[in-house]
């Protein structure tokens, strides 16, 4: 480059001074800086950070006394797992250069490492905070895990012991489970995409719950489960997802987004399906409770009945009348039929089912058989007997109603009123009439004039209804 030489001072010492244009000077400085500071490491705090077009990032790096401008172009900052933000303490690697347009000197950053913690941890924290803000971890949006899923999907690597361990746990809890396994790489750059595809495929195939499982590892090893891609996929999944990544102390983004986090894959197998023998025990317990309550109610009915029987009306059964006894009988046999059918059916059905379970999977043989076949059935029969008495009680109440009604209403029910032909007084016992005497029998639609043919002296009592 040719430089102009102008004499502006008389002083000969500087007569030879070279005069730059601004551009020339900036260019020269830039060249000097770039060759002298071609590979620097500088540590400081980020401030005034902003992205240009979401690509290049500009910020100041400062310490207590000084600051310097930094630019990191897209090709380099896109490689960072985390995002640069104000307040971060970074160690920058790059070279010093000049932005000639403004004559500002700056560092062109090629890499930036968080000081004090790893880049991945920082990235993890940032994504976690971002998703949390978006409401991805809200308990209210979590789908319910079914307690008895028909089909369980597991996304894992079939290479490790994880699947084997999970199957042993499942076999112990619920022998007849249905599992659909999808084999994926749980580590490496394709891992995230593979897991997302697996979620898609399982949803499409149609299952009830998905478990994403992986054994323990470092933060780097588990990185596939800390991506935004996985978070979005789990969040938008139509099926409940259980995340079981690493050991108890490992937390991943997928754990937070999933509907349930299991501390380990084996624990996921524990929570994904109910324990069959426990479930059976629970049902047995509920049936037992029902029996107790119904029995208690029957006992109360029985007591009420006993009270009623002591009353006059039951002490003098002749006042009840045949029709009512018939109603008793009809009620009794109807109840007997119904209750017997119900109890028989219930008892047999349950006994059969408990037995089936018994044959297939040997759990607690003695208890299972005892419950339905013996114990329950005997108690059900007891229930039936008791309830019979209670129906009698009900009939007693009907009787009370009858008494309130007029004799004419009684006649309408099919009773007859027998009167002395002359006095029109009601005849209450056979001693009041003589053989050959005329009597009036009053029915609902008229009167029958009748003659006494004979008298049979029989004490009316409870036996009478036996003949009917």
């Amino acid at each position: 480059m040719e430089h102009k030489k102008i004499e502006i001072f008389n002083n000969s010492q500087i007569a030879d001074t070279r005069i730059y244009t601004v551009s020339e000077l900036n260019f020269s400085v830039k060249k000097d800086l770039e060759s002298n500071f071609s590979n620097v490491w500088v540590e400081g705090e980020v401030s005034n950070c902003y992205f240009h077009n979401k690509r290049n990032i500009y910020f100041d790096l400062k310490d207590q006394h000084s600051k310097i401008k930094v630019v990191m172009f897209y090709e380099n900052n896109r490689k960072l797992p985390y995002e640069i933000e104000d307040g971060q303490h970074l160690l920058i690697n790059g070279y010093v250069s000049v932005y000639e347009k403004r004559g500002e000197y700056q560092i062109i950053a090629l890499d930036a490492k968080p000081v004090g913690k790893g880049s991945l941890l920082l990235a993890f924290e940032q994504l976690k905070a971002k998703l949390e803000n978006k409401g991805y971890f809200e308990p209210s949006r979590k789908r319910k895990i079914p307690i008895l899923p028909k089909t369980i999907g597991i996304i894992t690597s079939m290479g490790g012991a994880v699947l084997h361990d999970m199957i042993s746990v499942l076999s112990r809890r619920y022998e007849n489970f249905h599992l659909i396994v999808r084999n994926v790489n749980v580590q490496g750059i394709t891992s995230s995409i593979e897991v997302c595809d697996a979620i898609n495929d399982l949803c499409q195939y149609g299952i009830d719950v998905i478990i994403i499982a992986r054994g323990g590892g470092s933060l780097e090893d588990l990185w596939a489960f800390n991506t935004e891609m996985i978070a979005e996929k789990i969040f938008n999944c139509s099926i409940p997802v259980i995340s079981a990544i690493g050991h108890e102390t490992d937390f991943t983004i997928s754990d937070f987004v999933a509907d349930l986090r299991a501390a380990t894959p084996s624990i996921a197998a524990e929570v994904v399906i109910l324990n069959k023998s426990e479930a059976i025990e629970k049902i047995k317990e509920l049936v037992r409770k029902m029996q107790i309550h119904v029995n208690a109610k029957l006992m109360i009915g029985k007591k009420e009945l006993a009270f009623l029987i002591k009353r006059r009306i039951f002490k003098k059964p002749e006042t009840i009348g045949l029709a009512l006894w018939q109603e008793f009988d009809s009620l009794n046999s109807k109840l007997k039929e119904n209750m017997k059918a119900l109890m028989d059916k219930a008892g047999k059905e349950l006994a059969k089912q408990f037995k089936q379970i018994n044959k297939k999977y040997i759990y607690d043989k003695i208890n299972l058989n005892k419950l339905m076949a013996g114990n329950l059935y005997a108690r059900l029969l007891e229930c039936f007997k008791n309830s019979l008495n209670v129906k009698r009680n009900k009939a007693g109440l009907i009787l009370k109603d009858l008494q309130k009604n007029s004799p004419l209403l009684t006649i309408e029910r099919g009773y007859a009123l027998v009167l002395n032909e002359k006095s029109n007084k009601s005849i209450r016992n056979i001693k009041e009439v003589e053989i050959g005497q005329n009597i009036k029998v009053i029915l609902q639609d008229g009167i029958l004039l009748s003659k006494i043919l004979s008298k049979i002296n029989k004490k009316l009592g409870l036996e009478l209804q036996d003949g009917n």
Binding site: L148, N176, I180, V181, L286, Q353
Partner: protein, 77 residues
Amino acid sequence: MEIEKLSFEDALLKLEAIVKELEDESISLETSIDKFELGVRLSSHCLKKLNEAERKIEELTRTEDGKLITKELKLED
């Protein structure tokens, strides 16, 4: 209520609700017998559901033309 169509969970929930209702001393004997019968049917349905599934372990893959297929998975012990 069509018990046959209930899921295990729903049937179990209803069964638990019935037990609760039976605890109420003010309901009539008739009602409690009805509820008892329903409860027996529900518990029977629950047991049926528990035995419904068949033990199966399958692997899900995609064929080259993009079809989803499952094949039985043999695991070495």
